[in-house]
């Protein structure tokens, strides 16, 4: 090998380019056709399944219940008197890894008391095109306003329809609840609400013509 060639080799090493022709070609052994025993073993799985219980559910005619802690559509809960638990703190939006939640806070006023205390969620949107149902928002919620239901039928024909507003997410009014806005239970503070001291809407409010569900 001459000096000239040696320096060319060094250069090749430095530049990291290998000569394609110098790479050894290894023949990979191809598998042959399966033996009869092997085939019988494979088809036995198919054959034996014919005698097992059918797992297919005729959805949507039949709707099987989910696991009890299945992560489905969210729900914004209410206090027992109907006031919303959400205070618009945006911690759910902060926790969301998919940026699916949009919240704007608002001031509670005597005429428009939506939740106990000073603050309520004025705008609450969850974008189910983005949501990955991880449940971090539920963990973040300081008032237990946000939980998840088992509802999984979240498909629609327009993208806009999959951005759920506060009205879509709010829990239904149950027995003893009164649709907000209405004043807080007389004599109770927001701390009483969080401690569970409020059990139902105050009778005076139900008599005021708004009606209790």
């Amino acid at each position: 090998m001459t000096d000239f060639n040696e320096s060319a080799n060094i250069e090749k090493k430095i530049s990291g380019q290998a000569d394609i022709n110098s790479v050894p070609f290894t023949e990979v052994e191809q598998p042959g056709p399966a033996s009869l025993a092997q085939q019988a073993k494979g088809f036995w799985v198919t054959f034996s399944t014919m005698f097992k219980k059918n797992q297919t559910v005729q959805y949507p005619d039949v709707k099987a219940p989910t696991a009890p802690r299945f992560h489905g559509r969210h729900q914004l809960n209410r206090h027992p008197d109907g006031l919303e638990k959400c205070i618009g703190c945006e911690l759910c939006a902060w926790a969301c890894p998919a940026d699916a939640i949009f919240v704007e806070g608002g001031n509670n006023t005597p005429e428009n008391q939506l939740s106990p205390g000073e603050r309520h969620g004025a705008v609450y949107q969850i974008n189910y095109l983005r949501c990955i149902f991880c449940g971090l928002c539920v963990e973040a919620c300081p008032t237990r306003a946000l939980t998840m239901t088992n509802e999984y039928e979240l498909a629609d024909d327009k993208r806009e329809k999959l951005i759920f507003e506060k009205e879509d997410l709010l829990a239904p009014l149950r027995q003893g609840m009164l649709a907000p806005p209405h004043p807080m239970y007389p004599g109770m503070t927001d701390t009483n609400y969080y401690n569970g001291d409020v059990k139902e809407a105050h009778p005076s409010q139900s008599e005021s013509g708004q009606g209790v569900n």
Binding site: C89, E90, E104, G106, N107, E118, R119, P142
Partner: protein, 787 residues
């Protein structure tokens, strides 16, 4: 923190050891600040570099040893200046300091509610952050926390949640030391200690918003930002304040295309870390005003109808083509836009008839601006080194609040002497203990000559000097005699930039005189045109007169409100007669009579820059990214194209680049021809000479939509002297009627220190719009009677 010092002053340096690292700092530096220099963060709440040390929160405890002798207990590092042979151990190296800090944090949190989800400060809270970095993981306190009724309004725009307060006294120290508005204080003692206002005396300060910004917990919050957003929602853009010529650095926080709050930026050479409430809270006008969204063109039946941009530009070009036209830009344009107007007038309209001054003006002022202000370089630093500051036709707190803060700082720190030539005393003058030289309206010029200034003095002259004949001449003569520096402080943010950009009849960009052939050739060459018009242009009042008399046919109007000009009815009549192209953000008195209305971008929607009164440029980017509105300069460029005389300024960037390349003029300035000093008219009986100025918070268009801010306006009053009060038989609080042949204003009276011949009313406050209601300017005779 900057540690720039005058190179002339030798600073004694002291070397200390902090956590085993040596650091040299100037004598007098506090331990906490020396540690910052090493990058060691000691937790703190009460410490603020611009406020006097107080050692109130005790969070910054460290172990200190001097000459081998250790303090028996940890010491507050925010109150102890460094000394030679000092060895400091912070929480990083001293378990004792660390334990002490954790203990203090535990005590602070003992009474602090855990309502972070409801609190506006959540996410940007020094208490939250430092509780995480320097606090215990769990609380040992098992009991009830202190509660208060919440929140309480300490003013209409500031809310106080007392249970969140950690008693650091930052807000009370700011109010007392920086703003000299000691309306809040720490009341009670012990566990009940709380920030409070005096009974019946709300926190009416023009600087109250700063307390919200420096509160290290969520105790003080702004009413207009309450519950609006979290820090992670906001897109922050550095911006410049558009409200006055102080030139504050600002930060604009936008959520989904809407400005939610503005904060003071940190520029040590201008606003330090402060700003005024108008700059902080008056931003809703952008959305509150009924914004123009489409170009409007007046049709054959005289109605303004929506039009497309090509239609509107063609209509504007058709109306301006071959006509004798002028330009009024208004004082709120950015420098880039002003340069666009300036070039548009000279090239597209071939005229020097351009004036940016939408207020009471004089020819004397125009010549003074061209001769003394264009290219001048008096700065805030000159106030810091001045031996005497004279205020001429200038009320610092109302007309340029950051200048007031700087004067106040120098007054507090080193007893700066301030003299004020004025008709009426003011709150700012009281705070500055200013030497009040009382003159009758109109006679200011002769009083100025008698001021004893030196070469180290600064004369701050306001735009109202144009309302008193000979006042600018007297100021120029005084400066020439004593060597004092002149600082001209206009009220509006765009005025200095417009002057430098040549939006004035006698000057071309860079302060080049129109009458100087070499200056014209200079600019003509840069603009690629054969020649520029050589006749000096008309002033704004001359333009209005010429429009009325038919000497001018058309006018291009920027952001001008006719009611800011004297004789607004005559102005509107003149505009009605003429072909008017109006560039505006919202319908105004001018768009109502315009023939073509072109919508432009508001300040948050565009980029640009403002020159403050010093001539210091502050550029800003658009805070709202997706606006379809464009800056004036782009629309003028399109209009110039439609006229067939392109000005080629398609973007703000190209305008800025071209303007900066022109540079300033190094040749001879415009000659200033002094004007004889005016005298006050003589009055007798119930007649009085009118004096007025605009309050910081008044009926201004840019304050629309912010009701919380409006609540901290100073009350509308007519100010008269004790003697006049006796002669017309009124006492403070009773109603008086200030009237002339044109109209009348009836407002409560305030008996105060004012020249006997004068009556003062606010110029544009609620129920007192002097220019509109009385059509009277400074020094005019009005009648004051008991109502």
């Amino acid at each position: 923190m900057t540690t720039t010092q005058d190179s002339a002053v030798a600073v004694e340096m002291i070397t200390v050891v902090i956590d085993g690292f040596e650091v040299s700092v100037p004598k007098g530096t506090l331990i906490i600040r020396a540690a910052e220099k090493l990058g060691i963060q000691i937790p703190r709440f009460c410490d603020h570099p611009l406020l006097d040390p107080v050692g109130a929160c005790r969070q910054c405890l460290v172990d200190v040893e001097i000459n081998g002798r250790a303090f028996p207990k940890p010491q507050a590092s925010c109150t102890i200046p460094v000394e030679p042979n000092m060895i400091v151990k912070t929480q990083l190296t001293s378990p004792v300091a660390d334990k002490a800090q954790k203990g203090v944090m535990e005590l602070l949190l003992g009474n602090h509610p855990l309502d972070c989800p409801v609190c506006d400060k959540g996410g940007e809270c020094p208490l939250q952050n430092q509780a995480m970095s320097n606090g215990r993981a769990d609380a040992r306190l098992d009991g009830y926390k202190r509660t208060f009724e919440k929140p309480i309004n300490i003013s209409s725009s500031v809310l106080l949640d007392r249970e969140r307060c950690v008693l650091c006294a930052r807000c009370t120290r700011f109010s007392a030391q920086i703003a000299s508005d000691p309306f809040i204080t720490l009341n009670e003692r012990g566990a009940l200690q709380q920030v409070g206002i005096y009974e019946n005396d709300p926190f009416k300060s023009y600087f109250s918003g700063n307390t919200v910004q420096i509160c290290p917990v969520g105790a003080l919050t702004g009413a207009s930002y309450r519950f609006r957003a979290r820090p992670f929602d906001l897109v922050s853009t550095p911006s410049a304040c558009e409200h006055c010529a102080s030139g504050c650095d600002m930060r604009t926080d936008v959520r989904r295309g809407k400005t939610l709050r503005r904060l003071a930026g940190d520029d040590p050479s201008v606003n330090e870390e402060w700003n005024c409430d108008k700059g902080r809270w008056a931003f809703k006008y952008v959305t509150a005003l009924d914004r123009l969204t489409h170009p409007l063109v007046r049709n054959s039946s005289g109605e303004l109808v929506q039009a497309s941009w090509p239609e509107a530009l063609a209509a504007a070009a058709a109306g301006l083509k071959g006509k004798r036209a002028a330009v009024l830009t208004g004082g709120r344009v950015t420098t880039e836009d002003a340069y666009g107007y300036s070039k548009f007038a000279r090239i597209a309209l071939a005229t020097n008839d351009i004036d940016y001054r939408a207020r009471v003006t004089s020819d004397e002022e125009r010549d003074f601006l061209a001769a003394y202000v264009a290219g001048s370089s008096t700065t805030y630093r000159d106030i810091d080194t001045a031996d005497h500051v004279a205020l001429i036709a200038f009320e610092p707190e109302e007309e340029s609040p950051i200048v007031f803060l700087r004067l106040n700082k120098n007054f507090k720190k080193r007893g700066l002497k301030v003299s004020a030539v004025a008709t009426k005393g003011s709150i700012a003058m009281d705070k500055l203990k200013a030497d009040f030289i009382k003159v009758a309206p109109g006679a200011e010029a002769s009083a100025v000559a008698g001021l004893a200034l030196t070469a180290k003095s600064v004369i701050l002259v306001g735009e109202r000097a144009s309302e008193s004949a000979g006042l600018f001449s007297a100021v120029a003569a005084l400066a020439a005699k004593t060597g004092a520096k002149i600082a001209y402080i206009p009220r509006r943010a765009g005025e200095r930039g417009a002057l430098e950009a040549g939006a004035l009849g006698t000057v071309l960009p860079g302060g080049r005189p129109v009458v100087d052939a070499a200056a014209r050739v200079d600019i003509a060459a840069a603009w690629g045109v054969d020649s520029l018009p050589a006749t000096p242009g008309r002033t704004s009042s001359q333009i209005i007169d010429a429009l009325a008399s038919g000497d001018l046919d058309a006018v291009v109007v920027g952001g001008v409100d006719a009611h800011d000009l004297p004789h607004s009815h005559a102005v509107l009549d003149a505009l009605k007669k003429s072909f008017v192209v109006s560039l505006e953000i919202a319908p105004s008195s001018v768009t109502a009579v315009a023939d073509v209305v072109l919508p432009v971008a508001a300040i948050t929607e565009k980029s640009g820059s403002f020159l403050n009164w010093e001539g210091r440029a502050r550029a800003f980017d658009s805070a709202v990214a997706d606006s379809h509105n464009r800056s004036d300069v782009r629309i003028l460029s399109m209009l110039a194209d439609a006229l067939g005389n392109p000005i080629s300024l398609g973007t703000v960037t190209s305008s800025a680049r071209e303007f900066n390349q022109l540079g300033s003029w190094d040749g001879a300035r415009v000659q200033f021809a002094p004007v004889a000093a005016g005298t006050a008219k003589s009055v007798s009986g119930n007649d009085a000479l009118l004096s007025s100025w605009r309050r910081l918070l008044d009926m201004g268009t840019l304050q629309k939509g912010e009701d919380n801010l409006a609540g901290t306006r100073r009350p509308t009053v007519a100010v008269i002297s004790t003697k006049r009060a006796e002669s017309i038989g009124v006492t403070t609080g009773q109603q008086v009627r200030v009237s002339n042949a044109h109209g009348s204003i009836t407002i409560p009276v305030l008996v105060e220190d004012i020249h006997e011949d004068a009556v003062w009313i606010p110029r544009n406050s609620f129920a007192s719009q002097a220019l509109v209601a009385l059509d009277a300017v400074h020094g005019d005779v009005v009648t004051v009677v008991k109502a």
